[in-house]
Symmetry: C2
Subunit: 151 residues, 2 copies
Amino acid sequence: MSAYTTSSLKAELHERGWRLTPQRETILHVFQNLPEGEHLSAEDLHMLLQKEGELISLSTIYRTLKLMARMGILRELELAEGHKHYEINQPYPHHHHHLICVRCNKTIEFKSDSILKTGTKTAQKEGYHLLDCQLTIHAICPMCQRALLPL
Amino acid sequence: MSAYTTSSLKAELHERGWRLTPQRETILHVFQNLPEGEHLSAEDLHMLLQKEGELISLSTIYRTLKLMARMGILRELELAEGHKHYEINQPYPHHHHHLICVRCNKTIEFKSDSILKTGTKTAQKEGYHLLDCQLTIHAICPMCQRALLPL
DNA sequence: TTGCCGATTGTGTATCCTTCTCAATAAGTG
DNA sequence: CACTTATTGAGAAGGATACACAATCGGCAA
């Protein structure tokens, strides 16, 4: 889990016989420049790029998001039902976790050194190569508790 | 986060004007009797019930799984791409987390009191009503590291 | 710089999980 | 026992994601 630059992306791609394309570089840049706490779905990313005049097909977007998640560059988040969100996978001390309301999807980010340590240690102990480690707390936010809405 | 019985399920359903049906009771029983470390997808559950002669429609299964997850009775797990898995949401000291290989989906369970504490404290601090708290570690298992397969 | 090989892209299509619709059924209450 | 309304089941619909394949282009070696 470390910060990525275009050249480190290129290096890691080449290591596996893969290629650095403008599309991959563009997508990496988008996530690098995203404010902390923001995350995008495939559709979000597609529309955002269109607005900027970058026409990258949805297929490529899906392929790239999955690729970068499996490389450990992006984190795959389950913040809402039905689709995934992605954000850059930042190392300590920017690494964080999510507290999510299952009713309205209001999400709060929080940090915890000890969790990251536990995750790192657990992966290491089992011989796994760590990509991402996220604590997801499912809960009901104060407003939704009061509302007493149907589930 | 506490253990559920038929009568506590009934009570909590009635509290909201809902009903205890044989289907809901049956599904709860299945999860209660599942060995620790096992988890089912909607499809798995459907087939398992068919084998036992319990014919519950897929629609009802999906509805019930979601309902129970939102009540905090079941945990929704993302152990593989494309579909969710469910397991009973057990309290301390059975509460556990998952270390998952993103390549082959090999999953290892592990426990951590401190994570559960952190999760509980964080939810409390924000006024959220805790339903579930799970650390998910995405990584590559030793075998897949050696295989050097394409992502 | 040029040419080649093969990875990657884009378009349209296919797939699969999950949700929805609605009439029929049945749980809970007085 | 009757009534109200939540729930079920069957099939259809929806939506996110993956796939197929021809066209394109990145990287490398001459």
